[in-house]
Amino acid sequence: MTSFGVDAQCSISVIGLGNVFLGDDGFGPLVIETFRCSYAFSESVEVIDLGTPGLDLAPYLYGKELVVIVDAVHSAMAPGTISFFREEDFVSSRAKLRITGHDPWLWESLAHLRLAGHAPGALIVLGVTPESCTFSEGISERIVEIASEASESIAQLLRDRGIACCKRTEAATPNLWWFPLTEPPSITAV
């Protein structure tokens, strides 16, 4: 089952976070769509673009064995750099470090679930340093180019844990509906 959301059958969630209208902040959704179209993966994996869910993130982390979050991470590193963070990384250096722009709610959602006894077994953040998160200007080319590398990183991460994930010989066409229009829409008005 893919892209269903809050699927109780899936023990692993690969989640994209980000606002598709804020330039490189749309990295998460872009990678999710790229990964979904380029890889075949185990039924236990749910691959889902959650946008900017705020506190509504909690249901998607609830009781999972493994959660992989893909998001833009602001840092001093060069734009386009991919980094990995574990939950411990930002728990321990909490006062100094926020992992992603959406972190305020990620942190709260995790804390709620931990108290209630439904926190995910493991959480990994795959982040990319954005170039520009400007409203309505579209995602930078450099970040678009990094999407396949990030997808392969997700695949590797799953395979390392014994979860089936293979690259498709022929990728399906990703539905990047939020990208700027290249030609006017074709509508038949009568």
């Binding site: 809050v6 980000g18 209208f21 900017t52 869910p53 470090l97 926020r98 959406h102 006017p184 008005a189």
Partner: protein, 565 residues
């Protein structure tokens, strides 16, 4: 006199800044400022009108479904397109469960900690707490064992000294007055609520194909294939799953959420006296029952000056008075232009000036109804229904009043509801109504399918030239309307007049403030450094400014800043 700036207000969706002037422990002036720009209307221009809803549901990360539905309804209105009854019921079920989810999160996770002092929980007598909880509700999750387990978790948290997300609460504030036992009961439900938040999402996911950002909508209906015997479609099994989830979810709403709000109301009766604010109320009809949307399960209407006997119904979405009455003014908002414009002619051209309280100070425009500010949300929803004698509204409002009176001896009237506490109580009353309606609409859907109707979609046809349409939805935070202008099938203008715009409205061209601003006048503030009471009134509206996300530096801390001058 002290000037307090809270920026950002925490535990809301998005960014909001509140400024108040306090004199003698009471607020006498207030300003609400939304610090994020929402320019999404501009993105829709030139797009295919059939796809507008896909974009609209990214207006906000939290209120996704509500913008999707208002967008398709606006286009359908422009085309005068009927919607098959199955599609109405499926949409209604999605809207109901989205709203239940939203209301549960608001009460427990976004606002309960304004009233509930976690630090007093270790002192609670769990046996006594269980007897209070079991005495006021038939809910099965209130046992002594359950409450002791929660108490132990809190004891562990407090003993560790690592309060994490709870480290910035106003613990021990003199305005926190619940007994340790009530704090324990409420916090236990705070944790249990996570499971029910998830269950309501599951209903939306089953019908919408995905949450958030449902996939099943279409201008003209929904794309759910119905075949009772097919595995791939909405079939007998899926309908059964929906029924089972709702049967789990409904008791939490009616026996926990509502009961907790009655307990809260009885414990803080003075909050029925604060926060009245703008006493003009607007609610729009929703949960249509037929293809042409002539009958609704939630009534709409307008109440002026807090006078329930003056209620005027909004019978359906074609209501001409509504279409003529709504304007938006940018005199005090960071947009070019000023004077009120009808939404079809609305403009969204930014003109940022920094916070200037006598000039422009917010990204929110000032919507007006026949020139007046209006309060929207569950309270408007309940008052409009109550005033018109709507049976379901009366049933649950009277049930709440009876619970408060019989268990706690406090008499509450519909007039008392026009207050900070009234807005909390109204949200739980509305949720109890929606819980009944969820089952009703599932039954309507089943019956219609069993009668042999499997239609879910009517094909839209776009005329040459320009058409205009308006789509309404009574969203969790109140009346939402999308106004679209379409030319040859593509958008030439889109304006969303959203609930938080009505409530967080700045002053208008005549200097008249909006509901948040007015509601804070007379609000007590015992300690200017810890303005908990201001948060109570602001949170009572369930602010959602998250119409676009904000980004932070990896090193940037975002703790609420309270500045007192």
């Amino acid at each position: 006199m002290a000037r307090i700036t809270i920026d950002p207000v925490t535990r809301i969706e998005g960014h909001l800044r509140i400024d108040v002037e306090v004199n003698g422990g009471v607020v006498n002036k207030a300003w609400a400022s939304c610090t994020m720009w929402r320019g999404l209307e501009a993105i829709l221009r030139g797009r295919d009108a059939r796809e507008g809803w896909v974009f609209a549901q990214r207006f906000c990360g939290v209120c996704t479904t509500v913008h999707a539905i208002a967008s398709v309804r606006a286009v359908e209105d422009a085309l005068a397109l009927d919607i098959p009854p199955n599609a109405q019921y499926i949409r209604n079920l999605i809207l109901i469960c989205h709203a239940l989810h939203d209301h549960i999160v608001h009460f427990y996770h976004l606002s309960a900690l304004d009233w509930v002092d976690i630090m007093s929980i270790p002192k609670a007598d769990a046996a006594k707490a269980a007897s209070i909880a079991e005495g006021s509700s038939s809910w099965a999750g209130n046992s002594r064992k359950e409450l002791e387990a929660v108490q132990n978790k809190v004891k562990g948290l407090v003993a560790s000294g690592q309060l994490g997300i709870f480290s910035h609460g106003y613990w021990g504030h003199p305005a926190m007055r619940l007994s340790p036992e009530l704090n324990l009961i409420m916090f236990s439900h705070y944790l249990q609520a996570l499971e029910f938040q998830r269950k309501s999402c599951q209903v939306v996911a089953i019908l919408g194909g995905k949450t958030p950002h449902i996939q099943n909508l279409a201008v003209g209906g929904v794309m759910n294939a119905i075949n009772l015997n097919s595995l791939a479609t909405l079939n007998v099994d899926r309908l059964g799953t929906l029924q089972a989830i709702l049967e789990d979810l409904i008791p939490f709403v009616q026996q926990v959420f509502l009961v907790d709000n009655c307990l809260l109301a009885a414990s803080y009766p003075e909050w029925f006296k604060y926060g009245r604010g703008v006493a003009n109320y607007l609610a729009v009809p929703d949960l249509p029952l037929d293809a042409k949307a002539t009958k609704f399960d939630l009534p709409g209407g307008v109440i002026m000056n807090g006078d329930l006997s003056s209620a005027r119904p909004i019978k359906d979405w074609k209501d001409d008075a509504f279409r003529k009455a709504v304007t938006e003014d940018s005199t005090h908002a960071w947009y070019q232009g000023g004077g009120p414009l009808q939404p079809y002619k609305g403009e969204t051209i930014p003109d940022y000036t920094d916070f200037k309280e006598d000039a422009k100070y917010t990204w929110v425009k000032a919507p007006r109804y026949d020139g007046s500010p209006m309060q929207v949300g569950p309270l408007a929803n309940i008052l409009v229904g109550y005033a018109q004698g709507h049976p379901l509204t009366r049933k649950w409002t009277d049930s709440a009043f009876t619970q408060i009176a019989s268990v706690h001896g406090l008499k509450v009237t519909p007039n008392d509801m026009q207050s900070t506490m009234g807005r909390y109580l109204a949200r739980s009353i509305r949720s109890s109504m929606l819980a009944d309606l969820a089952l009703e609409h599932l039954n309507l859907l089943k019956t219609n399918i069993l009668n042999g109707d499997d239609t879910t979609y009517n094909v839209p046809t776009f005329p040459k030239g320009e058409v205009m349409g308006m789509g309404m939805h009574e969203a969790p935070r109140g009346a939402l309307s999308h106004w679209v202008v379409i030319e040859n099938g593509a958008f030439t203008n889109c304006q969303a007049v959203v609930p938080t715009t009505w409530n967080a409205s700045p002053r208008d061209d005549k200097g008249v403030p909006g509901p948040y601003e007015t509601s804070l006048i007379g609000n007590p503030v015992v300690d200017a450094e810890k303005p908990l009471e201001v948060l109570r009134t602001v949170h009572s509206f369930d602010p959602c400014m998250a119409c676009s996300c904000h980004t932070l530096d990896a090193s940037g801390e975002e703790i609420a800043q309270v500045k007192v001058q």
